[in-house]
């Protein structure tokens, strides 16, 4: 069971390694959205400290959405998705492997560069830690939720707009928890509840989303 997961993850990581553009583009997008806000709302330090957590979280959400479109698209086009569907390995585990690889190549890099951008928003060190922790849990949730949407829209050629319409409403609770937890931490208030709630969301998503994604993939490829 785990063999299939590991094999799929390794294959996707290898593919990502051969095509670094797919990994880097969402990161550049993330950095660029974070740059847009100070240019638009003005560079005053109070404003940046106040809006920093929210802006970073929204940018992360949009960057995650941008990378999701390609999750099953390549495999659908070259036919390897059909091979996964007829494989003897349980499909939810294979899907989990693909989502894991997707998170390692899109969510995790995003978490790792977030302190640099948080620095430009004058975020203090301890808050930065909370930001990274919430983004770590949040991007896991977003990758898993997004895999459902990506599986539903895989053969449709409707692009990111439809995917956004499907995924963003589901992702809003994650955004709300994540951004507000960082804001609470920035205001020196109790923030652990939000972290636990995000962790609970992530655990639920890991256990349930692969089944929904597997079902959606079977429907899309009938």
């Amino acid at each position: 069971m785990v063999a299939g997961l590991v094999a799929v993850t390794r294959r996707d990581l290898l593919l990502a390694w051969k095509r670094p553009g797919d990994v880097l583009n969402p990161l550049f997008f993330f950095a660029m959205v974070c740059t847009l806000f100070p240019l638009a709302v003005g560079p005053s330090p109070e404003q940046l400290t106040f809006s920093g957590p929210g802006v970073l979280w929204v940018a992360a959400l949009l960057a995650a959405l941008l990378s999701l479109n390609s999750l099953f698209l390549g495999d659908h086009e070259d036919g390897s998705l059909d091979q996964l569907l007829v494989s003897a390995q349980p499909l939810p585990m294979l899907v989990l492997g693909k989502t894991l690889a997707h998170w390692l190549t899109s969510g995790l890099p995003l978490v790792l560069i977030s302190p640099v951008l948080a620095l430009t928003y004058r975020m203090p060190g301890n808050v930065m830690g909370v930001l990274m922790l919430t983004l770590l849990l949040g991007t896991i949730c977003l990758s898993l939720l997004g895999s459902i949407g990506a599986a539903l829209t895989v053969g449709l050629n409707r692009g990111t707009a439809l995917l956004g319409l499907l995924i963003l409403p589901l992702a809003m609770p994650v955004l709300l928890l994540g951004a507000n937890t960082v804001s609470l931490a920035a205001g020196n208030e109790m923030y652990t509840t939000g972290v636990w709630a995000l962790a609970a969301y992530a655990v639920a998503a890991i256990s349930l989303a692969p089944y929904a994604t597997a079902a959606a993939l079977r429907i899309s490829n009938e």
């Binding site: 459902i148 449709l156 319409l165 499907l166 409403p169 809003m172 929904a212 429907i219 899309s220 009938e222």
Partner: protein
């Protein structure tokens, strides 16, 4: 039991059943709404805090309740359709979505109109219920967008059913958000321990409105399912026979 279930699932049978049901739902529903609207707007006394503004609950509460009820129809229809491969259940989901979206929109608009004099703002982002109701509207839009972008009806049915089921988590959050996050929205008035915290003269019109709205919702749903069934079965023999018969599909 199973025989009844199979009979209900047969499109021609349901098509005729819905036709007989519609007047039985619509007439009492409209009568209840007429009574509720009159008693709520003219007979019920003013609220000691909110004055006449509270009267919008006679539209707001039933709409908000039906916005979630319609979603449940969509989700259960999707689940039954996926599990028992019952095509009619998918038709229920497809028919319920636009009605649900309309009630969600109505709940948002009436809530907003009420919020202006009461909270001093048309829209309050800090309130989880408002936000969740808006998210519910987006979920309906997503469901309908996914449905309309898949040409194959069978595939569209199943894909949108999966989406509706995933979104149920969200509806649960809508429902419990009042308890989860501290809220600007009023707490529960109707369903709480120790009975409703409302005077009978205000309560009965509200109950009549809720029941009336539900019945009219049922009638609208039955009407839309009939159209949906007719469209889906347009190439079958029973539809052709019915249309060519002397009654002409009545």
């Amino acid at each position: 039991m199973w025989k009844w279930f199979h009979k209900l699932a047969s499109p021609p049978h349901f098509y005729r059943l819905a036709a007989t049901l519609i007047p039985w739902l619509a007439v009492p529903g409209l009568m209840l709404i007429a009574y509720g609207a009159y008693a709520g707007l003219f007979v019920a006394p003013e609220d000691y805090q909110q004055g006449d503004a509270f009267r919008i609950i006679y539209v707001h509460v039933p709409s908000a309740y039906l916005s979630m009820m319609a979603y449940m129809f969509m989700a259960f229809g999707g689940a039954i359709g996926l599990i028992w491969r019952m095509k009619l259940a998918h038709a229920v989901g497809a028919a319920a979505a636009p009605i649900g979206a309309a009630f969600t929109f109505l709940a948002l608009v009436t809530g907003s109109i009420w919020g202006r004099p009461m909270w001093g703002t048309w829209w309050e982002w800090g309130d989880p219920r408002l936000t969740s109701e808006l998210i519910l509207l987006f979920l309906y839009f997503g469901y309908m967008a996914l449905r309309s972008s898949i040409d194959d009806t069978a595939k569209a049915d199943k894909a949108s059913a999966v989406l509706a089921l995933v979104g149920v988590v969200n509806v649960v959050i809508v429902h419990y958000s009042v308890e989860w996050w501290s809220s600007l929205h009023q707490g529960q008035t109707l369903f709480k321990e120790g009975g409703p915290a409302m005077d009978a003269s205000m309560l009965y019109p509200l109950l009549a409105m809720i029941l009336g709205f539900t019945l009219v919702f049922g009638a609208l749903l039955a009407r839309r399912i009939r159209t949906e069934v007719l469209y889906r079965e347009r190439r079958t023999r029973w539809v052709r026979e019915m249309i060519l018969s002397p009654e002409g599909g009545k």
